[in-house]
């Protein structure tokens, strides 16, 4: 055995888990749609046929392709940022993490419209999917048009995903493995860079893998805005179109299509994470933090009930609040996303601002600030409420 492999780096890393909660939401949405379908099966089959069977598969494929590509780009970019910024002081990293999170929580529609406003309205450069005239003939123009048609939504979608992952990585990357391990590796003559890439980074990647399925679901949500704004045919575009139309059957079909795409995306991500970031098998499973806390309380003479009441209950309460605020934060993001498409409720200001995006690229950004701040506030609250980790 090599000296450098004395410790399995990923032994204590969290496994990539399917986001059961997220998938549950998808399942509920699909179930609700299925109920609409069951209510009027005939009408739904007509709608489904109108959308086109093969066309649906193609839509799903397009959306899934964009989502996966954006996820790869976002993961790599977030890692690159985190690695490059890992030596910054902790307070600066925290600030950058909050900034990154604010970008992740910023309405994607506002970001996309602002980009269109700048790119098209200010600079007069083309966006392939929004052009009223087809690209010129010939291999090169066609290839460039296809590439641009693909790369733009991927890059735009990668922005909030990168920001979300970066925010998480910036807070995680500085948490070194146990000082003893670092000292042991240093004693064996390994330099800091080698320790980081060989031992620390795989551990971070394993943690990242646990987060990726959720980020995939997040991406699927953001994709609704991106495909809608860029007028790109896809599963998310179908849902956006159905939302705008407001009719029940197309909406049900759209939800089913999008849910299937999101669930498939999550599953693929989970499988890939399992393949590329396997969980170490060498160590026995550690008891959970709660049970360790309870055992410690019992050791010093407290009863199980008193230990739970004095030490575990406040912790669980904070966890519940953390979940509540975190959920509220994402709920704000989701509400703004949907209501902007529908042009109703809290998204109406943003929807109005997007109308003048070509002449005033900053209008939609300004309109997106309020909901982003609201979501960020809730996220920060959830962060404050999160219980401290137990060593």
């Amino acid at each position: 055995m090599n000296d450098e492999t004395i410790i399995d780096a990923s032994a204590n890393a969290p496994a990539a888990r399917l986001p059961w909660l997220a998938l549950g939401i998808v399942a509920i949405a699909a179930l609700a749609s299925a109920m609409v379908v069951a209510w009027d099966w005939q009408a739904w089959t007509v709608v489904w046929a109108e959308m086109g069977g093969v066309e649906n598969m193609r839509s799903m494929g397009s959306s899934l392709g964009r989502l996966m590509a954006a996820l790869v780009v976002a993961t790599a970019t977030a890692l690159a940022f985190a690695i490059s910024l890992r030596r910054l002081p902790a307070w600066l990293r925290t600030t950058l993490a909050v900034l990154a999170k604010s970008i992740a929580l910023f309405p994607v529609a506002a970001l996309t419209w602002s980009f269109i406003g700048l790119w098209v309205g200010k600079w007069g450069w083309p966006i392939e999917s929004l052009m009223p005239v087809e690209a010129g003939k010939g291999f090169l123009p066609r290839m460039a048009a296809t590439l641009w048609n693909w790369s733009l939504p991927v890059l735009l979608l990668a922005v909030p995903l990168t920001a979300d992952l970066t925010a998480w990585l910036l807070t995680t990357i500085a948490r070194a493995p146990s000082p003893g391990l670092v000292d042991a590796l240093a004693a064996k003559g390994l330099d800091g860079k080698r320790i980081f890439y060989r031992h620390h980074l795989p551990r971070i990647c394993a943690g990242l893998a646990g987060k990726l399925p959720f980020v995939t679901l997040l991406g699927a949500g953001y994709l609704i805005a991106v495909e809608d704004v860029l007028d790109l045919p896809g599963a998310a575009f179908s849902l956006a179109r159905a939302l705008r139309a407001g009719a029940a059957d197309p909406l049900a079909a759209g939800v089913v299509l999008w849910s299937m795409t999101a669930a498939l995306g999550c599953t693929i991500t989970w499988l890939l994470c399992r393949v590329f970031c396997p969980r170490g098998q060498s160590t026995a499973p550690r008891p959970s933090a709660s049970s360790r806390l309870l055992e410690s309380a019992m050791v010093i003479g407290l009863s199980r009930a008193a230990g739970w009441r004095r030490h575990l209950l406040p912790r669980q309460f904070r966890s519940a609040l953390h979940l509540l605020f975190c959920g509220a934060s994402w709920a704000v993001v989701g509400t703004i996303l949907i209501s902007t498409i529908v042009g109703w409720g809290p998204g109406v200001v943003l929807a109005e601002a997007t109308k003048s995006a070509l002449t005033d690229p900053w209008a939609s950004l300004s309109a997106g600030v309020s909901p982003a701040l609201c979501a960020l506030f809730l996220w920060l609250l959830s962060r404050i409420m999160a219980p401290r980790s137990i060593p």
Binding site: A76, V120, L201
Partner: protein
């Protein structure tokens, strides 16, 4: 996990950015606007490009680029050369004699007339052919033929008989064969398109009857009754000569010939629904070639506005018409400045034919189907679009764009109220005038059309040379009430105008199933109610409106929409002889107007046409038989920076003008040099 991890982590974002940047740069390069190409967005789907059945203004303008008429309405509203570089009216008088020798003698006698006599009689040529002598006169009207005929009267030209006989479509071929076989007797044959045939024969009507009956019996066909309608010694035929441009070419490069003109007119006459062929085409006796490029059109009667039927009438290649039958699966080729080079579901591309002297600066025009508002604006922002016809949905947004210049295209149709002069309530012209004065047309245009209408007064298309500039009538309620009071209609306490006998109530007809017109009619009724008129708006099925209400005169007022015509002849609308079976629904029977209309219909001098048309228009308007409301206002939005020196045209902007080089778009006064012929 060292080097490859770093390569992946830093390489993927860089690769994604590189690919995206390269693609964006490439797309931007390939989409750079080209100086020789113009991209125009249509307001809807692509048109079928049938030159005889344009659906809307966009199709009309596209067809204007593809097809060329003999004469077109120029940018100053006057007739200008197109396929024909020159045209003129003449008159032919043909006499038949008992033998070719006598005909020769008559021709020689005419040729021997002194120069003064030729000038006095406006004789231009006299030629003998067989036993006929044809005299050609410079002017299509005047007394010249009488003087010339007197000089050959002693040679006893044969008396010509005009006969009429019923000839439905099944008998036409038979009668044509008869005329071919008996060319010695029957000199002219003409079908009016409504089941009647007219022949000119050198024998009396009874003999025509006998000859035809024998001929038909030999072929076991039933006899046809023949009716003699007149006798003359010389057959007078107005002749319209078009001299084709020698450079005129079809899109395949072949020369435009007389046969093409003949075939096109023949096709249109065989397909009456293909376009609104005017009275002029029905009066065509023959179309013949006189030399290589001279189209000679003989008319069977005197009708000056016949020239108007050729204005903007597209000519198609005879060879194509022969091979493509009745239903066209593809747009026909033309002789226009552009030809169809590509056609798919999303766009139509026209390419300049490159014909010498056509003056086009733009080599390619691409028409694309309508896109949503955002895509339209992106197209304009990226300079991928140069011009577009905004739809009502996109127009509001586009009007905010200062980079766009909105130009009106020529008006094509109009809306008016037609009064029934036989109506007991509306018989007094002062009542009709009062209702006109009570109408607030700007308010109607703004409220009901959202500004997409052009107020017109008058009966002719705005901008054409024979249309006079009328000062627009404005609403004047006080004057309207005065007029009604003069006519004996006084308002009662409830605000309804009354005479001793009855209230001022009448019915306004509209076509059923047109909500917009319903709203307009209601708005008019509200405006007229302010001067005391009580109006009932009635919807009538379009099929029944004309046959059951307008033709029998069973109406008070009707709101009608109609296309503008290129002709200046208004006889069908206002002549007293057209009350039955034509378009004089108002029942106008004014002898003075009849005289003016007859004079206008007989006028060949285009300079005089404007004068006579003004007289007709003034008289029609003084009768208050019609209350013009407004014409359509279709606008094309053009990027200012693409066409910086664009100027408005009195008749409206045509794409043809837009595509010409900037230098030719600016009008320069003509410098005509007088050439005095050598004595």
């Amino acid at each position: 996990m060292m080097w490859w991890a770093r390569v992946l982590i830093f390489g993927i974002p860089l690769a994604a950015l590189s690919v995206g940047s390269w693609a964006a740069w490439q797309v931007r390069s390939t989409r750079q606007p080209r100086a020789d190409e113009v991209v125009v967005m249509l307001p809807g789907a692509l048109p079928t490009l049938n030159p005889f059945r344009p659906v809307d203004e966009t199709e009309r303008q596209m067809l204007d680029l593809l097809h060329e008429p003999l004469v077109r309405l120029g940018r100053n509203g006057r007739l200008s050369p197109a396929l024909a570089e020159h045209w003129e009216w003449h008159r032919h008088v043909t006499c038949w004699f008992s033998s070719p020798d006598i005909a020769q003698q008559a021709a020689l006698r005419l040729q021997a007339l002194s120069g003064n006599q030729w000038v006095a009689s406006q004789l231009e040529a006299a030629t003998a052919e067989g036993n006929a002598v044809t005299m050609r006169f410079i002017k299509p009207d005047g007394q010249g033929p009488d003087e010339a005929m007197r000089s050959i009267a002693d040679l006893q030209p044969l008396l010509l008989t005009l006969v009429q006989l019923p000839a439905d479509a099944s008998r036409q071929a038979l009668l044509k064969t008869f005329v071919q076989e008996r060319a010695d007797l029957v000199k002219r044959l003409w079908f009016d398109g409504q089941g009647t045939c007219e022949m000119v024969a050198t024998i009396p009507g009874l003999q025509v009857q006998q000859s035809l009956t024998q001929w038909l019996q030999a072929r076991q066909q039933p006899a046809v009754p023949v009716r003699s309608v007149g006798e003359v010694t010389g057959l007078i035929e107005p002749i319209l000569d078009f001299k084709l441009r020698p450079q005129a070419r079809w899109h395949d490069g072949s020369a435009v010939a007389v046969e093409d003109v003949r075939a096109t007119v023949g096709w249109v006459n065989q397909h009456p629904g293909s376009m609104a062929a005017g009275d002029g085409f029905r009066q065509v006796q023959s179309i013949t070639a006189a030399g290589t490029n001279l189209v000679r059109i003989a008319y069977r009667s005197r009708y000056g506005p016949a020239l108007a039927d050729w204005v903007d009438f597209p000519i198609l290649p005879a060879a194509w018409l022969r091979t493509h039958g009745d239903s066209w699966a593809e747009p026909p080729p033309g002789a226009g400045e552009y030809r169809l080079s590509a056609h798919d579901a999303q766009s139509v591309t026209l390419e300049s034919t490159g014909a010498a002297g056509n003056g086009t600066a733009i080599k390619r025009v691409r028409f694309v189907v309508a896109a949503p508002n955002l895509k339209t604006r992106v197209g304009l922002a990226t300079k991928s679009l140069d011009a577009l016809w905004p739809s009502p949905l996109t127009e509001v947004d586009l009007r905010m764009d200062r980079a766009l210049d909105f130009q009106a295209t020529p008006p094509r149709n109009r809306l008016f109220v037609l009064w029934n002069l036989r109506s007991s309530v509306l018989a007094d012209p002062r009542v009709r005038e009062a209702l006109g004065l009570a109408t607030n047309r700007p308010a109607l245009v703004n409220e009901l059309l959202g500004g997409r209408g052009r107020i017109v007064d008058g009966i002719y298309p705005p901008g054409v040379w024979f249309n006079q500039q009328l000062s627009l009538r404005t609403q004047d309620l006080a004057a309207a009430e005065r007029k009604l009071a003069e006519a004996g209609w006084l308002k009662d306490v409830s605000g309804v105008a009354k005479t001793a006998q009855r209230m001022l109530d009448f019915e306004l007809l509209i076509t059923a199933g047109n909500p917009w017109r319903q709203r307009l009619a209601q708005a008019l009724a509200r405006q007229w109610a302010r001067v005391g008129a009580r109006v009932t708006v009635s919807e009538v099925d379009a099929q029944e409106l004309v046959s059951r209400r307008l033709e029998p005169g069973r109406f008070d007022a009707v709101l009608l929409g109609m296309d503008f015509e290129t002709t200046w002849d208004q006889s069908s609308f206002w002549h007293s002889s057209r009350v039955k079976g034509s378009l004089n629904f108002s029942g106008v029977a004014d002898p003075q107007l009849d005289l003016l209309l007859d004079a206008l219909a007989g006028e060949y001098d285009l300079a005089q046409v404007a004068v006579r048309a003004k007289e007709v228009e003034d008289r029609v308007l003084s009768l208050h038989a019609i209350m013009p409301l407004f014409s359509d206002l279709q606008q094309i939005a053009i990027r200012r920076d693409r066409f910086p020196d664009l100027q408005a045209r009195p008749t409206g902007l045509m794409l043809r003008d837009l595509l010409r080089p900037a230098s030719t778009r600016v009008r320069t006064p003509l410098e005509l040099k007088m050439i005095i012929p050598d004595e």
